[in-house]
């Protein structure tokens, strides 16, 4: 009887495993997400809209929490690899993903032909003007402002099968930097990489749009050296000397923002570095605008998240947000063992997370400000009230948009 009915038995077991596995492992999370997120799907206050919102929230929660989802995604990625596909079309979750000639993954917002739209330098002028004005406000109370233009993964040496968003960003970044030149202190990290003849490709993850932690640490060192050479803000060399830091490499541990969509068998997984100071540290981390729990402890246990679990080899949930937590509203990291009274404000997008973490060792107070989430008051008001010794912008080329430059 079983021999004749292998297929229906296997079918039933597969869907049963999905049902009970999902319910047991993700049931509470699904229920929580439905309660918390149903408002995201509501367009008005009609009964129809309410019903739709709970249905969509449930579907979304189940889609996110399907039992063995990561294994299915790994299989999907393996199949794409076998079929030689370089374009993974968009889904309800992410945009189109393309594989470049460097075997790295890139995001494309849509699968289209070449668009001949050109950007004029006027497109970034308002952002440059806003930064110049902010710089004068900071200088007026004796502070320093440094704009760090983080690099982007894509560069002209890479071939991609379809146009991707990043190709346009290079033009805008160059235009913006030319507009703040000689008016605001800045570091063009891309140019630094070229000047120092570094291997550009190795500075980025294959499966994530961010630079590697090692690249962020190198940038932190460059920032400190620049500050020491060009501004009145000084950083003791012991804080950015590589010999003062430990590095633990988690091999094949990381699937980034584009990698999670295709699993570990499409372009493989990335190594991920956990860089922690050798010197003694003691911190408190405060989330200023939310009700999230505060943390305290040394760098590894306060400024990083879930450090011990990742060291044990459990890489589930390993994300770019390991350093200071994911992008969120204003975070303050208080150094309990400072050797100065400096107060630093880091205005950042996601590229600035590890840099912020490393910078927190150099000062008494470090505040991480993300214009997408921090809305208590305007950035200008916040800086004027805080009177920071250093205002550090760490922005990727993607941040050249209105929401990252609305300072008032």
């Amino acid at each position: 009887m079983i021999k004749n009915n292998i297929l229906p038995i296997v079918f039933f077991l597969v869907i049963l495993l999905g049902l009970f596995g999902t319910a047991i492992t993700q049931g509470k999370q699904i229920a929580w997400n439905v309660v918390k997120n149903n408002g995201d799907y509501r367009s008005d206050d009609t009964i129809n809209s309410y019903a739709h919102s709970y249905i969509k929230a449930f579907e979304s929660a189940v889609n996110d929490g399907v039992y063995l989802k990561n294994y299915y995604i790994d299989l999907f990625g393996l199949l794409q690899n076998v079929m030689g596909k370089d374009i993974i079309p968009s889904s309800g979750y992410t945009g189109t993903i393309v594989k470049g000639s460097d075997n790295k993954l890139y995001a494309a917002s849509s699968v289209t032909t070449n668009d001949n739209e050109e950007y004029s330098i006027d497109d970034t002028k308002e952002y440059a003007d806003a930064l110049i004005e902010l710089n004068s406000i900071v200088e007026a109370f004796g502070g320093e402002l440094l704009y760090v233009q983080a690099p982007q993964k894509y560069h002209d040496g890479v071939t991609v099968p379809i146009p991707i968003d990043a190709q346009r960003l290079i033009v805008r970044k160059d235009a913006f930097l030319s507009q703040i030149n000689e008016k605001v202190d800045f570091i063009d990290v891309t140019q630094k990489i070229v000047d120092e003849n570094l291997d550009y490709d190795s500075m980025f993850f294959a499966t994530d749009h961010h630079w590697t932690v090692d690249s962020a640490f190198w940038c932190y060192q460059e920032i400190c050296e620049y500050l020491n050479a060009n501004t009145n803000y000084h950083v003791d060399k012991k804080y950015y000397d590589a010999n003062s830091w430990n590095k633990k490499v988690l091999k094949n541990a990381y699937l980034g923002s584009t990698g999670v969509r295709v699993g570990g068998y499409y372009v493989g997984r990335d190594d991920f570095s956990l860089i922690t100071p050798k010197f003694d540290t003691d911190f408190e981390r405060h989330y200023m605008s939310t009700r999230m729990v505060d943390h305290s402890g040394d760098f590894a246990h306060c400024v990083l998240t879930e450090y011990e679990r990742f060291l044990d080899g459990d890489y589930n949930g390993l994300s770019w947000g390991v350093y200071t937590g994911s992008d969120t509203s204003t975070v303050r990291i208080e150094n309990k063992k400072p050797d100065n009274d400096s107060r630093v404000l880091v205005v950042k997008d996601s590229f600035g997370l590890p840099v912020s973490a490393f910078m927190s060792t150099t000062c008494k107070d470090l505040v991480i400000y993300d214009l997408r989430y921090s809305h208590d008051c305007s950035l200008i008001e916040y800086i004027q009230q805080g009177r920071f010794d250093l205002v550090l912008f760490v922005y990727s080329p993607e941040a050249l948009s209105t929401r990252f430059f609305s300072f008032e």
């Binding site: 009915n5 579907e59 099968p161």
Partner: protein, 464 residues
């Protein structure tokens, strides 16, 4: 709720099967109540408010069906009222704005559009309701005294949203006397897996080629090769989208003991357009034949009337698919071809030539069908033959050919009855049983991997 979704595969279906085969195993009446409840729940999942419209439709058909079933003088008025109400609901939600647009255009009026959202599956369940009433009136079925059975017939979730259109006479006995067996369940699982694979692996992927081709048409960048790739892709997409859904519906029906009629029979191997329509969406053609064409006289009338009957049926066939001139023109294209076939006796042509001609017109017809406007459809066809001054081959065409080669090849192979022939030849062989079982399990897991990853998942016939 889509069949090819995580919620259906991992929540709705296993729970439904567990309850049906454990808690309710001893009572067919209990099982029918359960199926009606979950069918209405299934519909409400996608249409929380329009489930009330569905209930209204069930009630109308139940009441008028009871009156028709009494056999007294009220049966004909009841039939007319029942059909009129069914069609009226369909007209209001699907064709009212289209009619207003035509009136505004012809009479230079300014009647505002109503902008009612189209309830999912309304074309299908309306036709099932009309089928119920007519079959009772003709004595081909008995009016149900139980609202439960009427409700279950019309709203049974496997075929509620996109068919097959099940005639009442085909299902009446099964409502109260169907059997359940492991053999039936196994057949159901096989069909469901085949349908799931057709939909997720083939239709969804080929859709991306077709969609991109029409996007390029909008941008004025459609090359000849890309136009042909898009045409072939859409020809395969619509087949696998619809036949895949029908396979899943038939498979689910079998899992719950129902034998639902076939809807497709390898239509792309047809030698004539007439044969194509004996193989494509067979339940819709059967419905129009039995409830419109034959009552009008069919082909047993004078030639002029015969041509009118054909015209009317194909006009309605096009209109049924959507409130747009593209669908009407598409339907009337087949009217012209069918009349020409009868006149030219194409069934006597060499098979290769008649196959090529019929497949070509089917494919060109799909481009009219797919386009948003008639103009776009004609432009697209023009691009296929370089009539727009477009390039022959370009980078996009080669890119999509490379990216989707596997799906094109697999799609073309599965469109012909190779696997069916192999299955029939070796059905008694143990090695074939294990091979087929293993392949279906692999296909199931691969289909689920695509589904879980959240790949692109449109459903063409949901628009009807």
């Amino acid at each position: 709720m889509l069949f090819s979704s995580n919620v259906f595969i991992f929540v709705f279906l296993p729970l439904a099967l567990i309850v049906y085969y454990t808690l309710l195993r001893k009572t067919l009446y209990g099982r029918n109540i359960f199926l009606l409840v979950i069918s209405l729940f299934f519909y409400a999942w996608g249409e929380p408010v329009y489930v009330l419209l569905m209930l209204f439709s069930l009630l109308v058909n139940y009441i008028t069906g009871r009156v028709i079933g009494t056999g007294n003088r009220a049966r004909k008025p009841a039939l007319i009222v029942g059909i009129a109400l069914n069609i009226a609901v369909l007209f209001v939600f699907k064709y009212l704005d289209f009619s207003i647009t035509i009136i505004d255009s012809v009479f230079q009026a300014a009647i505002p559009l109503i902008n009612l959202a189209l309830p999912i599956g309304i074309s299908f369940y309306t036709f099932q309701g009309v089928s119920y009433l007519i079959d009772i009136y003709r004595g081909e079925g008995t009016a149900q005294k139980s609202f439960l059975n009427v409700g279950l017939y019309i709203s049974f979730f496997p075929q509620l949203i996109a068919g097959p259109i099940v005639r009442y006479s085909q299902i009446e006995y099964q409502l109260t006397h169907r059997t359940h067996s492991m053999v039936k369940f196994r057949r159901g699982v096989e069909r469901f897996i085949c349908g799931l694979a057709k939909k997720i692996l083939l239709a969804n992927n080929l859709a991306l080629v077709a969609d991109n081709a029409f996007l390029l048409l909008d941008k004025g960048e459609l090359s000849v090769l890309m136009a042909w790739l898009g045409c072939i892709a859409y020809t395969l997409q619509i087949y696998y989208d619809f036949s895949g859904y029908s396979d899943m519906a038939i498979g689910l029906g079998l899992m719950f003991g129902f034998e639902i009629p076939e809807n497709f029979n390898y239509p792309y191997i047809s030698g004539t357009v007439s044969e194509f329509w004996r193989r494509w969406h067979m339940t819709l053609q059967g419905w129009f034949k039995d409830y419109v064409y034959i009552p009008l006289g069919g082909n047993r009338v004078v030639p002029v009337r015969h041509i009118f009957n054909l015209f009317f049926v194909w006009f309605l066939t096009g209109l049924w698919h959507g409130a747009n001139w593209t669908f009407i023109v598409w339907g009337l294209m087949y009217f012209v071809l069918l009349v020409l076939e009868k006149w030219l006796h194409t069934e006597k042509w060499p098979k290769v030539i008649s196959h090529i001609y019929s497949l070509l017109f089917v494919m060109l017809g799909w481009m009219i069908f797919r386009a948003n406007t008639l103009y776009d459809g004609i432009q697209y066809i023009g691009s296929m033959f370089c009539l727009s001054g477009n390039k022959g081959v370009d980078y996009n065409a080669l890119l999509y050919l490379k990216e989707y080669a596997f799906f094109f090849v697999f799609g073309l192979v599965v469109a012909v009855p190779i696997i069916k022939t192999i299955n029939k030849k070796y059905t008694d062989k143990l090695w074939w049983y294990y091979t087929k079982t293993g392949l279906l399990i692999v296909v199931l897991i691969i289909s689920i991997s695509y589904m879980v990853t959240g790949s692109y998942n449109p459903f063409i016939y949901f628009n009807f």
